[in-house]
């Protein structure tokens, strides 16, 4: 199971606190106010405003709320994208930049951040954003009425309080000290309009289809239930001239239509009724994205490498299985995992072998760790060392009455085509792999309950590596925990505890690397493949900056994730050139062609 990174981020970033009515509290005198007006700008000065982007959704959202029942659908990120927070994270440098706050400061004990609010900030209904709206976020998120227990707990247990110093200064505290680079993701709240949610009683029903005021670049302007939703750009958006928001969010309207079948959506795209289409899957990029509209240059193709935190894609060996307990067996399995063959001969070499449990985390990632290569000789040595030297009549290794046979549990049809190749390769190594395909949720549940021998899948999410849930012995040998390998190792525990309490970045990166090396040594998690890139096709009237994307965010446009049009951090970089649209449509009628554009952008590609 994969946690949606965006949703976790947004959960973390919309924190609130509650203010006690007191005599005006005093700001600590020694605060060091920080802002950011020097990082690179990632939008293009060539961008022009105007035009309409056509996008699609596979199903109509069940609600316009962003919390409460049924709110966790893919549409949610479009709502959250337009809910700005106090600060945003720079997609290339990962530093903070001003959003609703112009300056920020840290308390010495690493629990509290202070913010100077931008006096220009306005809700979409024209009302100013007040300090009280941040206080209300905490009240809102802690309210039982929103029927969101996870948020109730998070905002009660992890977040402290909001203190108002004056009309433009507040502080938000965390319930415990956190490293400085992680603190903002908890305390940089986004405000909630108190004037709109007067009474939360019956919230779930009352606000199901209401359009709440927001602070972001777009607001919903038209809803055709079951059919389409249109977002319109705010012409006088309060943040439009801020350094990191200038030249972004350019299209006037974004219309997203419900198309229930992906193949049908593809036909719409080919006719020019959708402007952008995600082509990351090999089938789309190599097979479907061919033909006239590509050959004649009407549609451009972009393969954009990014360097974003990756999920821990891999196979998870359950060490409570008596055979898998043996490290030599696990090493044998690692050496006979022929991922390279799958990638090179079935997946067209499009994927990249994952090397490290925590890849894409910048300084936290130890680039010197390399996945063990396919090597039957070494596999044999390790299996033999573990006592599995003999082979039965079917070529599978035996030890006494036991056969070297494991069930691999997985939850997606896409994986079947990889596993059937691996199964044949494993036969050569003398190991039998029994495939157990379940539906996605059932497969993850079976792993959570530790009923698997081997589980194929990924865990992850978040901007910083996390190890406690997946590798600490506290979470081993019990159901409903993420320690899918049942790792129960004193050294690992010590490292993880140190990592969790370390406050300086060098200490933390150092410990993270040690943990990664230990994971590699234990080999209970074996890396598979990752896709550190996004691929899209877009009609030539869609214009992109010179560097057509960002380090964390991927390509500047992505149709499967149309919400990226709104993300305050990295969204809305594209624009539409109406003249080119006219020219292209006219040319298409006459059969005239343009130069074919097929770009591979490696600006942010991590060297092999």
């Amino acid at each position: 199971m994969i946690f949606n990174k965006r949703s976790i981020l947004s959960i973390l970033s919309c924190v609130l606190i509650y203010s006690s009515v007191q005599a005006a509290p005093k700001l600590p005198g020694n605060l060091e106010w920080i802002t950011n007006d020097s990082d690179e700008v990632f939008a293009s000065p060539k961008a022009v405003k105007g035009g309409k982007l056509h996008s699609f959704l596979l199903s109509f959202p069940l609600t316009l709320r962003y919390v409460g029942p049924d709110s966790n659908g893919s549409f949610r990120s479009a709502i959250l994208g337009n809910k700005m927070a106090l600060v945003a994270s720079h997609p290339n440098t990962s530093g903070l930049f001003p959003s609703l706050a112009t300056h920020w400061a840290y308390s010495d004990d690493n629990t509290t951040m202070y913010f100077k609010l931008n006096p220009d900030a306005r809700w979409s209904d024209g009302k100013p954003v007040t300090p009280d709206d941040y206080v209300f976020t905490l009240e809102f998120m802690r309210s039982k009425e929103i029927i969101a227990p996870w948020y109730n707990t998070y905002y009660s247990d992890e977040i402290g309080e909001v203190v108002i110093y004056d009309d433009y200064t507040i502080s938000v505290s965390s319930s415990k000290p956190r490293p400085r680079n992680e603190l903002p993701s908890h305390v940089a709240l986004n405000p909630t309009p108190r004037h709109f949610y007067k009474d939360l009683t019956g919230f779930v029903k009352k606000y199901n289809w209401s359009i709440a005021p927001n602070t972001g670049p777009y607001q919903i302007s038209e809803i055709k239930k079951g059919k389409s939703i249109t977002f319109s750009r705010k012409k006088d958006w309060w943040a439009k001239d801020l350094r990191y928001y200038k030249n972004r969010f350019n299209v006037d309207k974004i219309k997203t239509t419900v198309i229930r079948d992906i193949n049908l959506a593809w036909e719409h795209f080919k006719k020019g009724k959708l402007d952008i289409f995600g082509l990351t899957l090999p089938l789309y990029w190599h097979e479907k994205a061919t033909g006239e509209i590509f050959d004649k240059g009407y549609v451009k193709k972009l393969w954009f490498y990014n360097d974003a935190p990756q999920y821990a894609y891999g196979i998870w060996l359950n060490q409570d299985n008596p055979i898998l307990k043996d490290r030599d067996v696990r090493l044998g399995i690692a050496y006979s995992l022929n991922m390279e063959k799958v990638n090179q001969e079935v997946l067209r070499g499009d994927y990249v072998r994952k090397n490290n449990y925590s890849s894409g985390f910048g300084d936290f990632t130890d680039l010197s760790i390399k996945a063990r290569p396919f090597d039957l000789q070494k596999a044999d040595e390790h299996f033999t060392k573990a006592g599995w030297s003999e082979r039965g009549g079917d070529g599978i290794r035996i030890k006494g009455n036991e056969r070297l046979s494991f069930t691999v549990t997985y939850g997606s049809d896409l994986v079947t085509s990889r596993l059937v190749v691996l199964k044949e390769e494993y036969k050569r190594a003398g190991l039998e792999l029994v495939l157990r395909k379940m539906d996605g949720a059932a497969s993850f549940k079976s792993a959570l309950e530790k009923k698997h021998d081997i589980w194929w899948g990924a865990l992850g999410g978040g901007d910083f590596p996390q190890y406690w849930g997946t590798l600490h012995s506290k979470n081993a040998h019990k159901a409903q925990t993420n320690n899918l390998t049942n790792t129960d190792d004193a050294q690992m525990d010590r490292l993880i505890e140190a990592f969790r309490s370390a406050m300086t970045t060098t200490e933390r990166t150092d410990l993270a690397k040690k943990i990664q090396n230990l994971i590699h040594y234990q080999s209970a998690w074996i890396p598979t493949l990752e896709t550190p890139y996004g691929r899209v096709g877009y009609w030539r009237w869609v214009q992109l900056p010179d560097v057509p994307g960002t380090r964390i965010g991927g390509p500047a446009t992505s149709a499967f994730d149309f919400s990226s049009s709104f993300s305050t951090s990295d969204g809305g970089l594209f624009w539409i050139d109406k003249d080119i649209k006219k020219e292209t449509l006219a040319a298409k009628k006459k059969g005239k062609s343009f130069p074919v554009v097929n770009v591979v952008d490696t600006t942010f590609k991590v060297a092999d």
Partner: protein
């Protein structure tokens, strides 16, 4: 008393009539041949050689344990790649290898570095129907998939008929409360959505071959009971049943020895269609992903691959042609059997 297996003149007449319906008769012969051949698929379609002559020794690897590469002079402990061995021995002249007609098994991936599967049909590589999207031979998967489907269907047929016929006959014969009760049970049972049950079951466990039979059987026995009930009702009222009763025959003797032989024409008429239904059931379950677990070769899985990869026409066309042929043959057989057993042509009493 009639007997099922004694060739009385009436039976001979029926067989002759069946033979005289040409397309049904030939379909029957071809179909039976295919089923028999599929039992020996290992010697026709296999990556294991039929015969290896190496350094004066003869090996027959088709059945039984694997022969590790080391035994045949290749430096590895896993199963010999006989296609490579064939090339090697041909070059060195130290022996020979005879491969089956289709030298691939349905599981192996025949991949290469220069291009990507699916590969189109090629006589040179002996992929007569090409490969699927992961480089497995389509013909091999068709053959083994046929074997699975046909035996699935036959076992399903026998068991569901045993249940359906017994219950149906009992309902018709005893009538009354027993009949009433079972009618209601069947009505309720047949209203349970079959597909949902399968989906639920296969999401919590992986159905294997026999479990799948049991699941399909749960809902498959119903149809036959209705027919049997009706016929038994009719037969029960005939004089020969009364005569048997008068002679003191037990109920089970009357049902199985007297009534059943007289309803056999109905049963036989339905058999071909039940076979077709069995094949279709398994294929659709596999197509939807609720059937046999991968990598079991199956027609449904091929069909689903084919329909997702219409650019590679050989996948979808192979399986559709194969399926159409089999189902047409079964239909012809069914038609001929129905003609041959038509009571209007044979009935000796009114």
């Amino acid at each position: 008393m009639m007997s099922l297996f004694n060739l009385n003149p009436l039976t001979i007449k029926k067989i002759n009539r069946f033979k005289s319906i040409r397309r049904g008769y030939y379909s029957f012969i071809i179909f039976t041949l295919l089923v028999l051949l599929s039992c020996f698929a290992e010697v026709l379609v296999n990556s294991r050689a039929l015969l290896v002559s190496y350094e004066g020794n003869l090996y027959f690897p088709s059945y039984g344990s694997i022969i590790p590469g080391r035994t045949l002079g290749l430096g590895y402990d896993y199963e010999t790649n006989y296609r490579d061995l064939q090339k090697k021995l041909k070059d060195s002249g130290s022996g020979f290898v005879i491969m089956p007609i289709i030298p691939y098994n349905p599981y192996e991936n025949d991949l290469n570095d220069s291009s990507f599967p699916p590969f189109p049909p090629s006589f040179e590589d002996s992929h007569y129907l090409g490969t699927d999207t992961i480089g497995r031979d389509v013909a091999a998967r068709l053959v083994y998939g046929f074997r699975t489907a046909i035996f699935f269907s036959l076992i399903l047929l026998v068991v569901s008929y045993l249940i359906g016929v017994s219950i149906g006959a009992a309902m018709g014969y005893y009538g009354g409360l027993f009949d009433l009760l079972f009618q209601r049970i069947i009505e309720i049972w047949s209203n349970i959505p079959f597909l949902y049950v399968i989906m639920i079951i296969s999401s919590i466990m992986i159905p294997n071959f026999f479990m799948l039979i049991v699941i399909v059987l749960l809902f498959g026995w119903i149809q036959m009971t209705w027919y049997m009930r009706t016929v038994t009702y009719k037969e029960k009222a005939r004089e020969y049943v009364m005569a048997a009763k008068a002679l003191g025959a037990s109920n089970s003797r009357i049902i199985f020895n007297h009534i059943l032989p007289n309803t056999v024409s109905i049963i036989i008429t339905f058999i071909p269609f039940s076979i077709a239904n069995g094949i279709i059931a398994l294929t659709s379950l596999d197509y939807l992903g609720f059937g046999l677990p991968p990598p079991t070769p199956s027609w449904g899985e091929l069909l689903s691959q084919g329909s997702n990869n219409l650019e590679s026409l050989w996948i979808v066309s192979s399986v559709i042609v194969a399926m159409t042929l089999i189902l047409v043959m079964v239909t012809f057989m069914g038609e001929a059997i129905r003609e041959a057993f038509d009571p209007k042509k044979h009935t000796t009493y009114e």
